[in-house]
């Protein structure tokens, strides 16, 4: 189906799906389940009683209303255990004011928010921020304008690994060019207002931990030279983020402080700290069905140990017939998601791999509570692609799904705490058609930007 949106408005299939499809259709016939949408502020409250709405990012979420119509709201009564609503992507702060203390200076003064002037000393002339980054590829973006110097530099130094992972010197003159650091991953573009957008990307993963982002003036290719106090560059819009944070996100996110940043164009998520954050529902009665479809928009930040994204009952690996879960990952160093459910006797699980953290995905799985001879027990997809994993089915007595609380982000709210982001969660006590699955995946991806 092709729909023209008018001149100058980019065509975005995810936006089309968002406007024409709603996950509410999955529950139109009274199907049991849940639908959580952290991007919908009207469904979020800071307290479990629902008296204080969430009104901005970086506020805790104590109550998340279920949009399925089944009333299976998720809550957390302990204030310190509440996940936090976020849309943060850029790891830096004071991204539009290099004159603040958030930025360290070497061989330079920053007389105002967007001007880097050299000191009359020999050496480098730059500002920097030190941030912890995950063990993955990262990128740095900044915009420059000549102010006596017509060249500048960006670099990312992996302090833990003791090496520079990415760097380039740019000519900010004419159409702009790369003077040194000619990796195909580095880019420069002349912007409509005459500024230059400069970008570097690491070819290899960072060690994980302390990283220095350097932004400097240069004298042509020379990064270390005798400075001139009347010369420098103007700098604005600096952005440091993991490369795989999301697809088609804006290149720059303004960040003033950890709680004051732009959210437009950046997916909203619940941030689970991997320490003690979780939510739960009251018991959800799935006993009328032996089929389940689950969807999640998720960013997994760590594979250090087995973690639960969601689970019904106190422990799906123990004797709770009809319980189900999604591990993220299922074991230490496992680059997996693992849908898992239990029959009356026996269980089924399937490891979906390789999805090494940090990674953003839309995960979908249909679960059929039946004997092995009756067909597959789990039919899973990641980012819209069917996964052919090693399914283990030991069911000898199937039965329907159970009547248990749904725990989100931990096992029973007490262990296996998920470290990552949750963009959407849907569990539907029914089999779903291929069209329903594809439509829901696309809808969730519109909220997740995974692919």
């Amino acid at each position: 189906m092709n729909i023209g949106l008018g001149i100058g408005i980019p065509f975005n299939r995810s936006q089309i799906w968002l406007s024409l499809f709603s996950p509410s259709s999955l529950f139109a016939n009274g199907e049991q389940g849940v639908w959580y949408d952290p991007s919908d502020l009207t469904t979020l409250y800071q307290d479990a009683a629902g008296t204080t709405p969430v009104t901005a990012v970086e506020q805790p979420v104590g109550l998340m209303l279920d949009k399925s119509g089944r009333g299976n709201h998720a809550f957390q009564t302990v204030s310190t255990k509440r996940p936090v609503l976020s849309a943060r992507v850029n790891l830096l702060t004071k991204t539009e004011d290099i004159s603040t203390a958030d930025w360290s200076r070497l061989g330079t003064s920053a007389p105002n928010a967007d001007t880097l002037l050299e000191l009359a000393v020999s050496g480098v002339h730059r500002v920097s921020q030190s941030k912890n980054v995950p063990a993955t590829k990262c990128c740095l973006y900044a915009e420059f304008y000549p102010a006596g110097r017509s060249s500048c530099s960006l670099s990312l130094y992996d302090v833990s690994g003791g090496t520079t992972r990415a760097g380039a010197v740019f000519s900010i003159d004419g159409e702009g060019s790369i003077i040194s650091g000619s990796s195909a991953l580095n880019k420069i573009s002349l912007l409509p207002d005459g500024w230059y957008g400069c970008y570097i990307e690491s070819a290899s993963a960072f060690s994980g931990g302390n990283t220095e982002a350097y932004i400097g003036a240069t004298d042509g290719a020379a990064q270390s030279y005798a400075g001139d106090a009347t010369k420098g560059v103007r700098v604005r819009k600096v952005d440091l983020r993991p490369v795989n944070t999301g697809v088609n996100l804006p290149a720059y996110q303004r960040v003033n402080t950890a709680t004051d940043y732009d959210t437009q164009g950046f997916p909203a998520y619940l941030k689970f700290d991997g320490i003690d954050d979780s939510m739960q529902t009251n018991s959800i009665d799935f006993t009328a069905t032996d089929k389940m479809t689950v969807f999640a928009g998720v960013r997994k930040l760590s594979d250090a140990a087995a973690r639960i994204l969601f689970e019904t009952s106190l422990d799906v690996t123990a004797s709770y017939p009809g319980s189900f879960s999604m591990f993220s990952p299922h074991t230490a160093s496992g680059t997996t998601y693992q849908p898992y459910f239990r029959g009356d006797v026996g269980r089924v699980y399937e490891s979906l791999t390789p999805f090494a953290a940090p990674v953003t995905n839309v995960v979908a799985a249909q679960m059929f509570n039946r004997l092995p001879a009756a067909g597959v027990g789990i039919d899973a997809r990641v980012n819209g692609v069917a996964q052919i994993g090693a399914e283990a089915n030991s069911i000898t007595d199937a039965g329907n799904f159970g009547n248990y609380p749904l725990y989100i982000g931990a096992r029973a709210g007490t262990s296996l705490f998920f470290n990552g982001h949750l963009y959407s969660l849907i569990t539907r006590g029914a089999q779903s058609t291929n069209a329903q699955i594809e439509q829901t995946e696309k809808w969730i991806n519109g909220k997740t930007a995974a692919y």
């Binding site: 255990k81 509440r82 912890n132 140990a305 299922h330 699980y349 090693a390």
Partner: protein, 97 residues
């Protein structure tokens, strides 16, 4: 959000009962100084948005020992060489690789 402060509070394992009596529902996340994460827990942790009254109590009144850290929680735990306790049933021994 108002009158709240984000902090990570770490207590000794032997103080868990007393701390939970003062602040119910908290200090349930078990951590250890064992580099492999093997139990038993040496510490318990609560990290998140505390009411200012709670933090005031923790810092100025609570009789049990504690460390109160601000900023990035995981970084604070890493500095203290604390790892989450990995219990036996969480090893997923029955899982395929």
């Amino acid at each position: 959000m108002s009158n709240s402060t984000f902090a990570t509070v770490i207590i000794a394992a032997e103080d868990q009962e007393a701390a939970q009596a003062d602040l119910p529902g908290n200090f349930t996340s078990a951590y250890t100084t064992d580099p492999t994460g093997a139990p038993p827990a040496t510490n318990y942790v609560s990290s998140g948005w505390w009411m200012d009254t709670e933090l005031d109590f923790i810092v100025n009144t609570a009789a049990w020992s504690k460390a109160v850290k601000f900023g990035d929680a995981q970084a604070a735990l890493d500095v203290l060489n604390l790892k989450p306790v990995e219990l036996a049933q969480q090893s997923q021994a029955e899982q395929v690789a």
